[in-house]
């Protein structure tokens, strides 16, 4: 199969670029950028080639439901079993199947566009070369995670993704807020990764393998066991952190401190997508534990609502988008949790395109104006036509307006949650759709509409930045159609049936759901127009009317404050207690042992008088005693 070598190459290309930039071309910024663009471009080309191959292969061969993937692995570390201690077999492999092939295209496509866009955005930055090195490392980590064929390798790349996001969020590390944000992202993810690591260790101790393929057969025999629930629950914590679901969501909004293209990459195709991808990859595992699935669905639903409500009152353009990412990731978790992996992956795909578009659009605005507060912008629509037009397309897609990408995937999710009997989540999803439309168009009416702010000298960005916007806008318009019934009738398959190797899921257009969700989106847009477009109702009066609620939202439900309190008070108290135990009990024990030995020695020293005749007397007395003991039968002696 040609797919395996090309899959390896598409992962290796960005790594080569990273090494090359880091070692050789750091002093030549233009060359560094060129290397990064070429490497990620090569990955993109190879990914598309693989996807075409997989589509062709999966359409021609095999019965529906057959695992139409190919994989190859090399042993990496092998520790033989000794007695009852089980050995360890670690392999590094490549797995190409519809899921990974699709994900590779999404990752490399967004990474490629972001890299090209960064040529314009990062121009003149003193860390230009370093930026592209990190970007390549990020692409490498994410692609490696996507093609991994076992949990261990996934974990390795998972941590690499964490590392490169840390480097990129803290790219402007001289800014204290950026350094803090990168640390926050890293530490929050460490908490979650601990669950993931524990989970795969338990998994290995139970099943003796990390391999996805072997596990899928092993799991069918273990269905319903308590151990499986423990494993699924622990592994599930990892995606919660990476995909920034409640209660691990706190790092994502702060990650806005990184350069805007990095935000686009993190929010669209890498980092946060890793969590959703892991669940989709290990779906057999999660699907066999209903309790975890239910938890996943409700955490997702809660995060969707929670983040959307915070987004309603934010004023920073990037933070609004960040909370909308949280909210959309909540949708994806909800979809996975109600058992529709294909809906979750479909939303991940469409979201990757329109969220990258929105972030790059926001970057274009920030680049032009140097301003992030939407209320200090205004009238940008006239000055930045391409940016404004593409941004509106992205916002419409995010709001779920027919026929853009978000419409199809969001309806898929809503339909799946209704179909599986989660009426509450269905209603919640509709409510979130309304809020999404409202906050997105609040942003648009405020920043792009209205009167131009005089002191802002906005201008359209250069072609390096606008061309990626246009490509993403085109993808935003057409990507959703792959999940539409028309696509299915034309080609015989659709996104859902292609990606899911179990029973193919029919993609239908549920007219009721479509109608209600469109009405919700329209309602949200209309409300935003009333409040922020025409200013018929003053926003200030709304804020005053909902005073306490407004403050609660503006403070993001005080989650950061609660965490701050937990860390500064509770954790510190625990630390003080442990410190006391360490210093008093443990140190006391060992110090006491030492002091006892010293005191004994001090006493024993006195017996060494240095008087030779005393020594001789003692030796002779000892000999006499020994002879008496040996020669006396009464005392057990033998000489008689």
């Amino acid at each position: 199969m040609i797919m395996i070598p090309s899959a390896i190459a598409l992962v290796a290309a960005p790594l080569a670029a990273f090494v090359l930039i880091a070692c050789a071309t750091r002093k030549a910024p233009t060359l560094s950028a060129l290397i990064a663009v070429l490497a990620v471009g090569a990955s993109l080309g190879l990914s598309i080639g693989n996807l075409v191959g997989v589509i062709g292969g999966s359409m021609t061969g095999g019965a529906p439901g057959a695992f139409s993937g190919t994989h190859a692995a090399l042993p990496w570390l092998s520790i033989p079993s000794v007695g009852r201690f089980r050995g360890l077999e670690l392999a590094m492999g490549v797995l190409v199947d519809p899921l990974s092939a699709t994900m590779c295209v999404i990752v490399s496509l967004v990474a490629f566009l972001v890299t090209v866009y960064s040529l314009g955005y990062m121009k003149g930055d003193p860390g230009f070369s370093r930026y592209f090195a990190y970007l390549s490392l990020f692409a490498f980590s994410m692609l490696g995670l996507v093609v991994a064929d076992n949990y261990f390798q996934t974990f390795v790349f998972w941590e690499l993704v964490g590392l490169s996001s840390y480097l990129l969020i803290g790219f402007w590390f001289e800014k204290p807020s950026a350094a803090d944000a990168s640390r926050k992202a890293f530490v929050t993810n460490r908490w979650a990764d601990f669950g993931f690591l524990t989970g795969i260790l338990v998994l290995f101790s139970v099943f003796g393998t990390f391999d996805f393929g072997q596990l899928s057969t092993a799991l069918s025999g273990a269905r319903g066991s308590a151990m499986l629930a423990v494993i699924a629950g622990l592994i599930f914590v990892g995606p919660l952190g990476k995909s920034a679901q409640f209660p691990f969501h706190v790092w994502l909004p702060d990650a806005m401190e990184g350069p805007t293209p990095v935000s686009a990459l993190i929010h669209a195709a890498t980092m946060v997508a890793a969590g959703v991808y892991l669940i989709a990859r290990g779906f057999i595992l999660f699907a066999s534990v209903p309790a975890v699935m239910e938890t996943m669905a409700y955490i997702g639903g809660f995060t969707a609502l929670f983040a959307a409500s915070i987004a309603l009152v934010q004023t920073d353009i990037k933070r609004i988008l960040a909370y909308s990412t949280l909210s959309q990731l909540g949708y994806m978790f909800m979809a996975l949790g109600v058992g529709s992996m294909s809906a979750g992956m479909f939303h991940l795909t469409t979201h990757a395109f329109f969220k990258a578009l929105l972030f790059l659009g926001a970057g274009s605005v920030i680049h032009a104006t140097g301003e992030q507060d939407i209320f200090k912008m205004g009238g940008l629509g006239g000055k930045m036509k391409i940016t404004a037009a593409t941004f509106v397309i992205g916002a419409l897609a995010l709001s779920g307006v027919f026929p853009l990408a978000g419409f199809w995937s969001k309806d898929d999710i809503l339909f799946a949650s209704l179909g599986s009997g989660h009426v509450g989540l269905y209603a919640l999803g509709l409510g979130v759709a309304f809020m999404t439309a409202f906050y997105m168009f609040r942003l648009i009416f405020t920043a792009f509409g209205g009167r131009a702010a005089e002191r802002l000298h906005a201008h359209e960005s250069g072609p390096a930045m606008t061309i990626p916007l246009l490509i993403l806008a085109a993808l935003t318009i057409i990507a959703g159609l792959t999940g539409s019934p028309w696509f299915k009738s034309a080609f015989g398959f659709s996104f859902g049936s292609f990606i899911f190797f179990g029973e193919p899921e029919a993609s239908r257009l549920d007219l009721l759901t479509a109608g209600i969700s469109t009405a919700m989106a329209a309602g949200g847009i209309a409300l935003a127009w009333v409040v922020y477009g025409r200013k018929i109702v003053k926003a200030e009066r709304l804020a005053a009317a909902f005073g306490p609620l407004y403050r609660l939202l503006q403070r993001k439900f005080y989650v950061d404050e609660i965490y701050g309190w937990i860390f500064s008070k509770v954790m510190l108290l625990v630390g003080v207690i442990f410190d006391w135990i360490d210093h008093t009990i443990i140190d006391g024990f060992f110090d006491g042992a030492g002091a006892a030995a010293r005191a004994t020695g001090r006493k024993l020293r006195l017996t060494q008088s240095g008087r030779l005749q005393a020594y001789a007397l003692i030796i002779f007395a000892a000999i006499v005693i020994a002879v008496v003991v040996i020669s006396t039968g009464l005392l057990g002696g033998t000489l008689n």
Partner: protein, 102 residues
């Protein structure tokens, strides 16, 4: 009639006198003399056992000859040590030799 017991009693007395001299005398030369007495008590034992014992070969006498030779060497070394000590410290009192005190 003088038999083995009388020799052994004499030897034991000699050994005790030598031992008391070795552990109780202050003068290093007297200590050395005590040690010599103890060695000769042992010699007396060996020869007595040889004479009254049932063994054919004169093993006890051979041992005694060896001990006499070794004792002579020991005296030579011991006197040399004492002489050196006297030159360094102007004393032959064993109580002064407490450099090994802990």
């Amino acid at each position: 009639m003088i038999g083995l017991s009388q020799y052994l009693i004499l030897s034991a007395l000699l050994f005790c006198i030598g031992f008391i001299g070795a552990v109780a005398k202050r003068n290093a030369i007297a200590v050395l003399m005590g040690v010599e007495l103890m060695l000769n008590a042992v010699n007396l034992n060996l020869v007595a056992f040889d004479r009254f014992g049932s063994h054919a070969a004169p093993l006890g006498q051979a041992f005694a000859v060896f001990i006499i030779a070794v004792a002579a060497a020991e005296v030579a070394v011991g006197l040399a040590i004492i002489l050196t000590l006297y030159r360094r410290r102007a004393s032959t009192t064993v109580d002064d030799l407490d450099a090994l005190k802990g």
